[in-house]
């Protein structure tokens, strides 16, 4: 059995077959790098698929700085990208504290390693919270829109700026009860009803000549979404099917639903990496406190989880560029 055991716990080296360390790297570090390569390929698969679909709908893709415009405590202020930029800083900064922990580990300064690990964990938690907040805003939506029978999204603008449905829709006297499992058809239910019915939106549009409709189609000369004339807008509204507020996997008030699908999937997968990174960091943090690495004589474990943590940061740099900037 001895031959099949990879870890030699006696002298704490894990390569077998002599004292050779291929490429001068320890077993754990090399395997972490190989995991990172494969995980990088997974993420690039997602981002490349995103690129494919974006190219497929290049003339109608949502414009990111019209989608992500919120900033905490600044209600109603149009703040495109500031928040994601802040998230990027938080993650880069937690990367810095991580590398400082590794650096302190090289000098066998247990206390310093523990403090820097703690800062890294806090940074990761702040990032996760920020991402949850970003999701909340995206799912809840900010303006509301109308979807046509062929799936196009119609948004409403006034004086060149997008306005929310609540800014111009006058409520009519119709009420529809949400279909739940216990009324109407038994055990059948439907999602939350939007605040307004299609008729209310259409009538309010007709009654307010200052409201115009914006479609998903991008004007190539200005790289802005096209705004329709009043008459054209009325023709579009003849095909109105439902009112959309917010985004989920089926509908998306900001445009193509597949944009929302990719957003949830890629940022969600990245967020899951951050989450597991925080968990691993916490385990290592307690190991540091318990003096496990002090006894072992080196802090290489901190270095290895550090590699994973930096990788998560690295992925975010690309997600930031391709989802929010380009």
């Amino acid at each position: 059995m001895g031959a099949t055991i990879a870890v030699n716990s006696e002298d704490k080296t894990t390569w077998n077959g002599g004292g050779n360390r291929p490429f001068g790297a320890s077993y754990g570090k090399m395997m972490m790098w190989f995991f990172i390569v494969s995980d990088a390929l997974t993420f690039s698969g997602f981002l490349a698929a995103y690129g494919l679909i974006r190219f497929k709908f290049i003339d109608s893709w949502p414009i990111a700085d019209e989608v992500f415009t919120h900033f905490p405590f600044l209600h109603g202020v149009h703040a495109p990208m500031y928040y994601v930029a802040l998230m990027t800083f938080i993650l880069i900064f937690s990367s810095v504290t991580m590398v400082l922990a590794v650096d302190a580990g090289h000098q066998m300064k247990k206390k310093k390693v523990a403090w820097y690990m703690l800062f890294t964990i806090i940074g990761g938690l702040i990032f996760l919270g920020s991402q949850a907040w970003e999701w909340k805003n995206f799912i809840g939506g900010s303006y509301g829109a109308v979807q046509t029978t062929d799936g196009k999204i119609l948004q409403f603008v006034k004086d060149g700026h997008q306005i929310a449905l609540s800014d111009f829709v006058v409520e009519g006297h119709e009420e529809r009860v949400q279909h739940t499992r216990k009324n109407g058809l038994w055990n059948e239910s439907e999602g939350t009803l939007p605040s307004y019915s299609v008729n209310e939106v259409v009538n309010s549009y007709k009654n307010d000549p200052s409201v115009l409709i914006r479609v998903e189609k991008i004007d190539l000369a200005t790289k802005k979404k096209q705004i329709l004339s009043r008459e054209e807008g009325e023709r579009y509204l003849l095909n109105a099917k439902q009112v959309v507020e917010g985004a989920n996997l089926h509908v998306n008030e900001y445009g193509n639903p597949i944009f929302a699908d990719f957003f949830f999937f890629i940022t969600g997968f990245h967020g899951f990496h951050v989450f597991s990174g925080v968990l691993i960091n916490i385990i290592i943090f307690f190991n540091v406190l318990l003096g496990t690495y002090e006894k072992r004589g080196h802090y290489e474990m901190v270095e290895k989880v550090g590699l994973y943590w930096h990788f998560v940061d690295l992925v975010w740099v690309f997600v930031f560029t391709f989802f929010y900037l380009v």
């Binding site: 490429f23 001068g24 790297a25 090399m30 790098w33 190989f34 990172i36 390569v37 990088a40 390929l41 690039s44 698969g45 981002l47 490349a48 698929a49 690129g51 494919l52 679909i53 974006r54 190219f55 497929k56 290049i58 003339d59 700085d65 495109p80 990208m81 500031y82 930029a85 800083f89 880069i92 900064f93 990367s95 810095v96 991580m98 590398v99 650096d103 090289h106 000098q107 062929d150 189609k217 200005t222 790289k223 054209e232 023709r235 579009y236 095909n239 080196h298 270095e303 550090g306 930096h310 990788f311 940061d313 690295l314 740099v317 690309f318 930031f320 560029t321 929010y324 900037l325 380009v326």
Partner: protein
């Protein structure tokens, strides 16, 4: 431990400074979107997008080399990781983007934008 035990703190903060400045530049460009860069085209996309991509790669380099300490690894270990990943990613992205452009050419005439 091949690398020395002296502290690299100064260098770490310097790399952090550079990464921060790059991020700030990206965000400023993303918010202002200068028309000369945004509305013109260069090699298939706007020069602004190229700036974003190049700055991103610069950041990736900074993180990998300084933070992940790739610069301290053996040359062929570095190459085994970086060349493999870079080659496969470029390959995949090139094919998928070409395919995406083709799908656009074929499908977009079928989408009706006037009612």
């Amino acid at each position: 431990m091949a690398h020395a035990h002296e502290s690299n703190t100064k260098r770490i903060w310097m790399v952090f400074g550079i990464l921060s400045i790059i991020t700030i530049v990206e965000v400023v460009f993303g918010i202002i979107k200068p028309e000369v860069l945004h509305l013109t085209s260069f090699l298939g996309t706007s020069p602004l997008n190229w700036i974003f991509i190049i700055l991103t790669l610069a950041k990736a380099y900074g993180i990998t080399w300084a933070f992940m300490h790739m610069e301290g690894e053996k040359k062929w270990f570095r190459r085994a990781v970086v060349w493999t990943a870079v080659f496969l990613i470029i390959y995949l992205v090139t094919l998928l983007l070409i395919e995406g452009g083709y799908l656009f050419d074929v499908l977009s005439p079928l989408i009706k934008w006037n009612y």
